[in-house]
C-alpha cells in the first residue's frame, strides 16, 4: 500500500461529501439571477393613431420617450398643413396618414414640440432639450433621398449645427412619426449655418 491510511480515508471522505453535496445543498427553491424570458409586450397607446400628436421628450436618464396628446381643437378641424397659415410653408403636399386618418399638421406639431412638456408631462419627469428660439420655415418632402429612401427636410431660420444631439433626435422622431407610423422616413435639419445629415428615428 503506497498511500497512507489517513490519505486514503481523506480521499474517501471527499468522495462521500461530493456525492452528498447535491443532496444537501440544493433543497427548496433557490433565488436566481435575472433570466431573459420571451419578448416584451406591445401595448395600445391612447389616444389612438390619427387622433393624437406624438411628441418626443427626454426622460430621466436621457432617453427619448414618446408622448401622445390629443389633437388640439382647431387642428383637428384643419384641412392640413398647407391650408394653415403659418411661418412654415410646405412646398409639397402634406404627408397623408396611411391609416386613413386625418392629415397631421406638421408645422403645428413642431411648434407644439418646441413649447416643451406640459404640466402633466413635467410631473412625470419629462423634459425637453430643444431650446432654440428660431422657427421652422418650411418643410420639404418626404422626397426620395440619394439612396432612394424618403427624406423629409425641415428648414429653420436659426443655426442647427450646434443643436444638442438629443434635441435633434426629438425633432427627427417627432417629424418622422408624424408622416409615417413606422417612422421609416429620414429627417434632415437645415439651418442658416448648414444642414445636418439625414437621420432616422432609431429606437434606443
Amino acid at each position: 500500500m503506497t498511500r497512507s491510511p489517513s490519505l486514503a480515508r481523506r480521499a474517501r471522505a471527499a468522495a462521500l461529501t461530493l456525492a452528498l453535496v447535491p443532496l444537501a445543498a440544493a433543497c427548496g427553491i433557490q433565488k436566481s439571477d435575472v433570466v431573459e424570458a420571451g419578448g416584451a409586450a406591445t401595448v395600445t397607446v391612447q389616444p389612438a393613431a390619427g387622433t393624437r400628436l406624438l411628441l418626443f421628450f427626454v426622460g430621466r436618464d436621457g432617453r427619448l420617450l414618446p408622448v401622445a396628446r390629443g389633437l388640439p381643437g382647431e387642428v383637428v378641424d384643419g384641412t392640413g398643413p398647407g391650408a394653415t397659415t403659418g411661418t412654415a410653408t410646405p412646398r409639397t403636399a402634406p404627408p397623408a396618414d396611411p391609416s386613413g386618418g386625418k392629415p397631421i399638421p406638421v408645422d403645428k406639431l413642431l411648434s407644439v414640440l418646441m413649447e416643451g412638456p406640459n404640466e402633466q408631462e413635467r410631473a412625470a419627469g419629462l423634459t425637453t432639450h430643444l431650446d432654440m428660439d428660431g422657427k421652422a420655415l418650411f418643410f420639404a418632402g418626404p422626397l426620395p433621398g440619394p439612396d432612394g429612401a424618403p427624406v423629409l427636410s425641415v428648414r429653420f431660420d436659426t443655426t442647427v449645427l450646434d443643436l444638442d444631439p438629443l434635441a435633434v433626435r426629438q425633432v427627427v422622431c417627432t417629424m418622422a412619426y408624424s408622416v409615417d407610423p413606422g417612422a421609416a422616413v429620414s429627417v434632415t435639419l437645415v439651418g442658416t449655418d448648414g444642414a445636418l445629415p439625414a437621420t432616422r428615428c432609431e429606437p434606443d
Binding site: K31, A37, G38, A40, V43, Q46, R60, P66, V67, P181
Partner: protein, 528 residues
Amino acid sequence: MRLGPRSRRRSDRAVPGGRRRTARIHAAAADQRPARRRRPHPFGLRTRLVLAFLLVAAVGCGTTAALTYRAARTAILEQTQDTAVGSFRRQVASLSTSLPLDERAMRAELLRIAAEGRPHPWRVYAEYDGVLRVSSTDRPESSVLTSELRTRARALGVRHGSFQRVVRGNIPYLTIAIPALFPDGQRYPSGRPTGLVLYAVMDLGVEDANIEAMVTAARDGALPALLVALIPALIAARGVLRPVRELRRAAHDMGRGRLDARIHAKGSDELAELARTFNQSAAELERSVAELRNAEARARRFASDVSHELRTPLAGMLAVTEVLDEDADTLDSDTARAVRLVSAETGKLAVLVEDLMEISRFDARAAELHADEVDAAELVRKTLQNRHWVGPGADAGLGTGTVAASGAVVTELTDGIRARLDPRRFDVVVANLVGNALRHGAAPVTVRVYEEAGALVIEVADRGPGIPDDVLPHVFDRFYKGDPARTRSAGSGLGLAITLENVRLHGGTAVAANRPDGGAVFTIRIPL
C-alpha cells in the same frame, strides 16, 4: 495418512529438522496451546463489507434521489415560470395606456390584471421612466423587485421580458418584468420603448411546498431502501466470509499437523481459486512430508534390522570370547592380550547393538511404559547398588548425605516419594546419568532425589570440568562427541539419547547445565 493426536505430535518432532535440539528439552512442549485466539476486530470483515454495501447503496440512493429531485424541481419551476411569464405578457399586451402614464387609469388596469394571475395570484406594479408609480396593492413600491431586474428591464435596446426568483424571509417569489413597447409598424417589429415597464410578483409558496414534499418523500424512501439493502449486504458478506472462514479453519488444522485438511472449493471466483491453490499446496506438502517420513522410517528400519541381524552372530561371538577369556591365562602374553581386546570390543559392540535396538524401538514408537506406583528413592538406591556404585550400607543414612563405600557416589535421597515409574526404564535413566557422570566428570557424583512443585526431581551432579558451552545444546544428541579428538569413548554414544527418550516416555523433562561452582548437573523432572 491419518495419525492419532498423540503419535502425530511425536512424529512431528521426529522429522530431521527436529534433531537440532537445545539442551533444554521439554517433552511436554508439543502440548503447547494452539495460537491464542484473539477477539475479532470490532470492524471485522463482515462489518466492513456490510458498511461498504450500505455506503454504496446510500450513495446510489442519494445520487438518484438528488438527481430526480433536481430534475423534478426544475420541471415544476419551469412550468410555473413559463405559465406566469406567458400569461403576464398577454395581460400586458392587452393594456391600454396613455403616454405619459396616467396613474389613475393605470391603477384600474393593474387591478384588472392582478385578478388574472396565472398560475397563482400576483401583485402587479407599473414603472414609468425608471420610477415605480402604481401598483395593484396599496403601495407603489415593492421590496421584492430587485434593482437588478429593474435595471435589466430598462436597459437600452432591451426588447424582452425577464424574470427572477427572489427569496424574502424564507418565502420564494417569482418576479417578472415585461417592458411595454410602442407599436411601431412593420419597420421595428420589436417596437420602441414607451418608458413603461410592468412587473408582477408571484408567491411561489405552493411550488415550495411541492418541492419540500419531494424532499420528504426522497428521505422517507431512502431509509427503507437502505434497510432493504442490508439484506443483500448480509448475504454477500456471508458468501464472502464462508470460504474465508473455511480457509482459516483449514490453515489452522494444517498448522496443528493435520496435513489432510482440505477446503471444499466450488465456483470459479477468486476465493474458489484461492481454495484450490490452498488444496494443491496442502496436497503437495502432505506428499512431501509423507515421503520424508517414509524415508526416515526406512532408515530407522534399516538400523533396526541391522541391529537385529548383528545380534545373533554377536551372541555367538560373546559366548566364544567368554571361553577365550577364561583360557587367556594359558595362552602366551601376545595372544592373551589380543584375545582380551577382542573380548572387550565384542562386549562393547554388544552394548552398542543393544542400545541401537532400544533407540530403534523408540523411533518405531514400539517402546511401552510399564508404570508402577513405586518409591523413587528406593529405585535409585537399588540401581546404584546393582551397579556397585554404593554399598548396601548406604541405607543407613536415609535422606542425608551418605558416602558410598567406594566414595565415588554421594546420595541425598528423599524417601517416600511415590511416583508412577517404569522400574526398568527408570533404572536405565539413573544408570546412564550416573555412568555418564562417572565417565566424563569427576567424583564425587552427587545423586539427589526430591519433590518440587508437583514433580519428582532427580539431580545428578559431578565435580568435573563441566560441559563446554558449544556442546551443551547437543549432549542429548545421538553419537554426539563432546570432544571431536576423542573418537572412541567408553559408551555407545546413545546413552543420553536413550535417557531422554525414557524420560519423555514418562512425560518428563531432562535438562543439562553447568553449576556455577564447576561440574555438570543433569536434572530430570517427572510430573507426579
